[in-house]
Structure formats: structure tokens, C-alpha cells
């Protein structure tokens, strides 16, 4: 395995004239969780779409597991888009099974076992034959996660995976994420809740296409100089500092 799971070097990206990612560099260690935290429009989704190869940076380079985007690399990536991207006319099982096939799980029995396994994991066994358009928002979110991880990818990108989940399930999800990390997977998770952020090994506070601070939740809290600082305090602290440096 390479030393870094993801290497983002000085990338920039614009939608038309709007600069969405501004000369950003990120290095993510394998077997860790990396949280992208920031307000709406900060560029979290755009950064993830750049990392999975859906978008091309206008400058800079991105390497995942030491490789540039390729078919071989695609097998090692799991991607959960921000909106639950599913086939509404198909059942929970059919959706997950389709992605298992697409990712080359040819052996029928093995695939079927794995599909059942992830269905239980996201706690949808009762609903496995229900059509996706008959599910609640949170349930769709869970199917979407299942589709992203069914092929056991070492590199997993989750764009706001916990949005719309009830507290119990949120805990359930995080327990599972921690298991994935223990088994050696690398997770990149975007969120705008500080609750999610506290679970990550490392965090990037993002704003307006820039990373304003990076570190473990503990480091970020300590940087504020206050003993009882929360992550929320830390986030505001770094934004203030950035604004001041810009002379605002």
C-alpha cells in the first residue's frame, strides 16, 4: 500500500466563472476517516466529485491509492452521492445487486450472500423486496450507502451520509464506519454537523473552496486555546482568523 490513500495537489476548479475549489491540497492516510466540514456551498461535494474522477481539476493533480483515475482504480472506489441515486422502480435488493454485478462480483452465491449481508447491515431486511419509491428518505439513504460499499472498496467517499438519519441509526452508521476503518478502509465523509465531525480521525474545515484548518478534532479544539472549546467554537475561531488575515 502507498503511504497516502489520497493525494490532492494544488487543485483548482471552477463552474464557469465561479471558482469553487481554490488551490487546494489534501493528503489522506490510509485506514483513517477524513471529514470535510463546511457550510452549504463550501465545495464539499465538488471536492469529492473531483476525487472520484467525475470532474477534472483545471490545474493540479489528484492521485488515489497512488494511481491516477483508471478502470482498475474504479473497482477500489465506493461512492455515495449526496442525493440517494437509486433506481426507483426496482427493489432494494435489485438495486444493491445491480451495483454488485457492475463491480464485477460474478460468483452468484457469493454475491447473493454479500448483498444480504449489506441489507442487514443497513437494517433493511424487512424492506428488501420493497420498491425504492415506497421507502422513506432515511431508508433510501441507507440503500444508497449499501450500494456504495457492497463491493468492499478500500476507498469510500460518502457525501453527507448521515443526513436524514434518526439518532439511533446515526450511531449505528458510525459504528459501522469505524469497523470499516479498522478493517483498513479509508473513508472520506462530508457533513455539516459537528456531531459527525467529532467521529472523524482528521477534519478539514472548508469554506468558499478553501480549507481553513485541518487536524484531528482534538487538535482543532486545542488550537483555539480554550480548554472547554467545542468543534463549533473551533470552526468559528478559524473562520474569524481567516477573515482577519484577509483584512475583513
Amino acid at each position: 500500500m502507498t503511504e497516502t490513500a489520497i493525494d490532492v495537489n494544488n487543485i483548482s476548479f471552477s463552474y464557469g466563472k465561479l471558482k469553487v475549489i481554490d488551490d487546494m491540497s489534501v493528503a489522506i492516510s490510509p485506514g483513517t476517516s477524513y471529514g470535510l466540514l463546511g457550510p452549504n456551498g463550501a465545495g464539499k461535494t465538488t471536492l469529492i466529485r473531483l476525487m472520484v474522477g467525475l470532474l477534472k481539476p483545471s490545474s493540479g493533480s489528484i492521485r488515489c491509492l497512488g494511481k491516477a483515475a483508471s478502470r482498475e482504480l474504479a473497482h477500489q472506489i465506493g461512492y455515495m452521492p449526496q442525493l440517494p441515486a437509486l433506481y426507483n422502480e426496482l427493489s432494494v435488493r435489485q438495486n444493491i445487486d445491480f451495483f454488485a454485478r457492475i463491480y464485477g462480483m460474478k460468483h452468484k452465491k457469493e454475491r447473493s450472500q454479500r448483498v444480504d449481508e449489506v441489507i442487514r447491515l443497513v437494517d433493511l431486511w424487512q424492506k428488501r423486496n420493497a420498491h425504492v419509491n415506497q421507502l422513506s428518505g432515511g431508508m433510501k439513504q441507507r440503500v444508497s450507502l449499501a450500494c456504495a460499499i457492497v463491493h468492499r472498496p478500500p476507498l469510500i467517499f460518502l457525501d453527507e451520509p448521515t443526513v436524514g438519519l434518526d439518532p439511533e441509526l446515526r450511531v449505528h452508521f458510525w459504528n459501522y464506519f469505524e469497523e470499516l476503518i479498522k478493517s483498513g478502509s479509508t473513508l472520506i465523509i462530508s457533513s455539516h454537523t459537528f456531531d459527525d465531525a467529532a467521529h472523524c480521525n482528521k477534519l478539514a474545515f472548508m469554506r468558499l473552496g478553501k480549507i481553513v484548518a485541518e487536524g484531528s478534532p482534538r487538535e482543532l479544539k486545542q488550537a483555539t486555546g480554550k480548554l472547554d472549546a467545542t468543534l463549533e467554537n473551533a470552526f468559528l475561531y478559524f473562520i474569524r482568523r481567516e477573515d482577519k488575515a484577509d483584512g475583513k
Binding site: R49, V52, G53, L54, L55, R71, E72, A74, H75, I77, Y79, P81, L83, P84, A85, L86, Y87, N88, E89, L90, Q94, F98, F99, R101, I102, Y103, G104, K106, H131, C147
Partner: protein, 242 residues
């Protein structure tokens, strides 16, 4: 490699089968249309003349519309984004859609042919397998045209708006109802560049006169050329990632 195309085809077929109304649209509506034509033209020879043309027209219409809408959904619901990240090539996607729609469009053709022969009493000479093979080429062009066109639609309603733009003119200009030779000359020139003209001509030759595929090679070649062109255009629009 190609196995991914088969998985996509299976999924497309699955989606259509689960959608009862669409199934009815594909399988029953053509029979209603053919019956209406049969009843409204009491002269048998007119029906003989129009039936082959309707075969091509209906295949074009349904394959174009259903692919366009399925593809549009694939884009708008975000599953295309998932496919783009997955180890799937553009060719897999286009081939998958083609294979998926062949099944339904060919069943449709079969049903129409049998219905017009046995229920409406049409006199056909051509061989069934040649009719189906000819239709494969027609459907290929229609499916890839649907994929390409869906890039320019932002919702399902906009996709439907392409019907009067792309399908209806062809019905009037391509000899479906009246012979191309009876139209004003400038319209005849227009019909030369429209693919349905060749589909209608070819199927009529096979079904009315008992021509073989070899006899209609010119029409086949033009339709194949059109299918290749639209396939390339469809693949190019897929490159424009989501």
C-alpha cells in the same frame, strides 16, 4: 468487459417490466393503432401498404421515447453519476441500453406482424427473421438517437416535446402514409436525409414484395450509417460526464 453491458441491459429490462403502464404502451397500444388503421382504411391494399411503415414508425417512436426518458431519469436521479464512477465504459452503457430495448422492441414487432397477418388479414411475403433483423438496425438508430437527444432535455416533459420535432415530421415526409414521389420536390429532397424513409422503404420491399435483406442493402446501409453516427454522438454526450 461486455458483461457490464449485459448487467445494464438486464436492469433496463427489469425497470420496464416493473412498469406495467409502459409494458402496456409497448405491447397493446400498437395493436390498437393497427386496428384503427385497419378499420379506417377499408381497402385492404392500403393497409398492406401502411402496415410495414407502421412497424418501422412504432419501433422508432417507442425506442426513441423510452430510451430518452430512461436516460433522462438516469441523469436526473444521479444513478448516471454512480455508473460514471463505477468501472463501466460508455460503450457498456450504450450497448446495455441497446440490448435492453431490443428485447421489447422486437417482441413488439413480432406481435404487430402476427396481429396484422392473423387478425387483420394482411398479405405478407417477407421472411420473419429478415423483418426482425432489419428492425434491429432501425431500433439501434432510434435508441442511440434517444440517448443523444436526452442530453438536450432537462425533464421528461421536454423529452416529450421532441416528438413533434423529430418523430412527427418523419411520419409525414418519409412515405408512411403517402408515397414520397407524390410530394413536392423540395420535400422529397428532405425525405432523402430522414432515416425513417429508408426504414419504410426497406420493410415494404421485404414484406410486400418478398425481397431479401440482400435486395434492400442500400436501405440497410443507410440505416446502419445513421445508427453508427447516432451511436458516436450518444457516446460523445456521455463523455460530457453527468
Amino acid at each position: 468487459m461486455a458483461s457490464n453491458a449485459i448487467h445494464i441491459a438486464g436492469r433496463v429490462a427489469n425497470q420496464i417490466i416493473h412498469d406495467r403502464r409502459t409494458m402496456a404502451l409497448i405491447l397493446i397500444v400498437p395493436l390498437v393503432v393497427m386496428t384503427l388503421i385497419g378499420l379506417s382504411f377499408p381497402d385492404e391494399s392500403v393497409l398492406d401498404y401502411i402496415a410495414p411503415a407502421m412497424l418501422a414508425t412504432l419501433a422508432l417512436f417507442f425506442s426513441f421515447l423510452l430510451t430518452g426518458i430512461s436516460f433522462l431519469r438516469e441523469r436526473s436521479q444521479g444513478t448516471m453519476e454512480r455508473l460514471m464512477v463505477a468501472p463501466v465504459t460508455r460503450l457498456d452503457i450504450v450497448l446495455g441500453y441497446l440490448l435492453g430495448f431490443f428485447i421489447f422492441a422486437l417482441i413488439q414487432t413480432l406481435i404487430i406482424v402476427l396481429f396484422t397477418i392473423y387478425a387483420l388479414g394482411i398479405n405478407f411475403y417477407g421472411e420473419l427473421w429478415q423483418i426482425l433483423l432489419f428492425q434491429v438496425v432501425v431500433i439501434t438508430g432510434a435508441v442511440t438517437l434517444g440517448i443523444f437527444t436526452s442530453t438536450f432535455a432537462h425533464n421528461e416533459f421536454q423529452m416529450v416535446q421532441f416528438i413533434p420535432l423529430i418523430i412527427v415530421p418523419q411520419i409525414f415526409l418519409c412515405g408512411v402514409i403517402w408515397p414520397v414521389e407524390q410530394m413536392p420536390e423540395y420535400l422529397q429532397w428532405l425525405s432523402v436525409i430522414l432515416p425513417l424513409t429508408y426504414a419504410v422503404e426497406g420493410l415494404r420491399d421485404i414484406m410486400l414484395y418478398g425481397f431479401s435483406l440482400a435486395d434492400v442493402w442500400v436501405e440497410l446501409a443507410v440505416l446502419l450509417g445513421f445508427a453508427i453516427l447516432t451511436s458516436i454522438l450518444a457516446s460523445l454526450t456521455l463523455r460530457k460526464r453527468v
